[in-house]
Amino acid sequence: MRALFKSLIILACGLFFNHLSAQPQAVKDKYQQLLKEAKSENERIDVVNFMVDYLKAINVDSSLALALVNIEDAKKAGYLKGEYWATKYASTSLINKGAYVSAKKYLNEASEIANQFGDSALISNYFSGMGMYYGVQSMYDSSAVYYKKSIAIDEARKGDKISPAYEMLAISYQMQSDFAQAIFYQQKALNNAENLKNDRDKANILVNMGNTYRNIGDTVRSEQAFLEAIELAKELNEKRIEMYGYSNIANLYFENKKYDKAYANSMLAVEMAEQAGEVSIGAASLSKAAQARMMQLKYREAEDLAILSISLADSSHQPLTIYQTLSTLGNIYVAQEKYKKAIPILKRSLESKKEAGFYDTGLAQLYKDLSLSYEKTGRYDEALLNYKIGVQIVDSVRRNENIRKATELTMTYDFDKEKAANQVIQAKKDAAEKTRQLLLGSGLLIALIIATGGWISYRNKQKANSLLEQRKNELESTLTKLKKTQTQLIQSEKMASLGELTAGIAHEIQNPLNFVNNFSELSNELIDELEEERAKDVKEKDDSLISELLGEIKQNLTKIHHHGQRADGIVKGMLQHSRKNTGEKFPTDVNKLTDEFLRLAYHGFRAKDKQFNAQLQTDFDPGLNILKLVPEDIGRVLLNLMTNAFYAINQKKQMNSTDYEPTIWVSTKLSGEKICISVRDNGNGISENALGKIFQPFFTTKPTGEGTGLGLSMSYDIVKSHGGELKVETEEGEGTTFTIELSDFD
């Protein structure tokens, strides 16, 4: 499936289809128009052949049927060239269907026509067709022989100006997995476009080249080509080319398991597709985005994307696209073991795939997925039946796939050889040019030789020095790296507590924000409707509707204001103290600060573990004075101590779930000249062994990856820098109390 789908995308990118536009309806319309405009029977046959070629990648059966009719018409008209192409396309479709005996028959006929016509271009094309024919059937030696014959003819023809657009040829080679030839002609096309300063063609060709490189596994060049194409398309404001750039680079990233990038680029392609009205590519890209999310195990997002892609694909009426989107959703369901839901989707997918006329490993995989889903839902007969069909298809297709790959490899090799040969020629040219320049400046050369002698001895001393220098640099860079790592570790602890803060705030703020977004969007729609009504003439104007709309808009604005205020209150209340992390001390209400951070810590912890539940007991001393401190720093200490406490009681809860009530007590107290903030839990306590180390940096009892081991050490430093003390009391099995003691003076 993938190979064929690839070629569909590649095909759709081709210049030919930019003339016609890639949308099926648009293609059909243009086709009808071209048919009408055809001045002779021969021209009409050419147009039909273009359609046959186009359909080949979309619906094999329609392409084949149309080709067969066209062969007869061309015979009647005595139009050999037209007969050749129709025959050749018929053979390609038959190869795609796996009907090799018939395919060979048509290839033989194509050979006869080509020889009768005596056109080397056709003969070359016939040879490459034979190469493909043998290639897909594991007959690798024969395949290579024919490919080489084809290449040899084209090489010889180079002097002539026979070729239709190079890129057309490249596309056809690419369709036949002849990537060396594809690149060869694409490179020529690119040079051509550059010479003519035709940036639009250049962008198109770059997309195609990106695909060719992707097919031969040259990821770096492929990415480069796509990125360049996208840049160019952006400059030219060519939405469609930009879209192809995104959708193809997304495929590249996907194959290389860079799923975030694959997702992002697919979504960009969706956006462009929407603007360009490319329903089918839009649906395919949404589906690709869903696949990327699936690979990242983000099933729910994947599911939503896949559902949207199906409704889009349905409106495109292209069985191949519909199949692709359905099979994606099917896969997502299977991956989540939702087999019951998967079955109807997979069945519909199968229908679409058959409608498109493809017979490949993708089809086999569908049968296997279906079989698995039946098996898991206890429908064993159907499971077995589908499994058998799947295996049959795989057996007949697998041989072909293997050998196609082998063929590609040789082609790559041939291509490299050719490139090397070109480089040698270029190097010779460069050398000749250099010699010429040297001769011109021979006087200068003598002076240079004298200077070189002195320079060599100086150079030897330099070498010894540079070796020492190198060692020194190595050591210095190791030291820098260590320092950097240390900073990074401290930063990562800060980020960890930031994550807890964010989760808490996000929880509180999400609802009002959603309302603000929704009601403002809706108000916009209402205003559009209002303007529509207002534009009507007096008789039709509905005044009551106008005042109703105005009333709703006003109501929405009130709601936006209300929820905006609500969000504002949350932010102000929770982060009043953190303005900027200036490290400056502010007069702070310690009770309020403690209470706010308790809520933040609780929501933050619950955001990570939904099952978590705890009793929160607070006891704040109302007689506390306002204290000058760095609120965000003390806040971080509180967050740390509280999160640790939650962690401790959660651990204990998981061990004895019945009669244990996980609780934390947070209190503030004025005792003499000191303010004490304590955080007590009834968790498992700290072992004597660990107690001595808890304030050491990097000490943690949490499993690897869960804690940085910097939380308490940083907290200790922060409290110290406030001139205070951080104390701990613990009893194993009973719980722990941490107390921050701050002095009341400043």
Partner: protein, 123 residues
């Protein structure tokens, strides 16, 4: 179709009524609102024989969305109402619990009304 929306945020009512203006006007959908799990159960018992789709938030004070889902799936077996739960992305725990309790589908916050409409159409 009759749709019962359960959320503790009162403004959800105004939001749905505006988002589904056309569908409500044409009679395609009929919305009923309940602002707590308890109120939802009361509403449900009053309209026992109608086919209903229930759309419920999870985080609500008092009876949570999960408890509501559990009660509905246990008590209303014939005809079983379709229940869609609204959760936050990344909230795998609630998602799994709701799946276990028999939730038929999920929506994520913030609500994507386009997706919701597509889902309602394909029901």
């Amino acid at each position: 179709m009759k749709i019962l929306v359960v959320d503790d945020e009162q403004d959800v009512k105004a939001l749905f009524e505006q988002r589904f203006r056309k569908e409500i006007r044409s009679g395609e959908h009929n919305f009923v609102f309940a602002f707590s799990g308890k109120a939802a159960l009361e509403t449900l018992s009053e309209m026992e024989h109608e086919a209903v789709l229930i759309l419920s938030d999870i985080n609500m004070p008092g009876m949570s969305g999960l408890e509501l889902l559990d009660t509905i799936k246990k008590n209303y077996q014939k005809p079983p109402p379709v229940v869609m739960m609204i959760t936050a992305y990344g909230d795998e725990e609630n998602y799994n619990t709701a799946t276990r309790l028999g939730a038929d589908d999920f929506l994520t916050k913030p609500l994507d009304f386009k997706l919701l409409k597509t889902k309602l159409m394909t029901l």
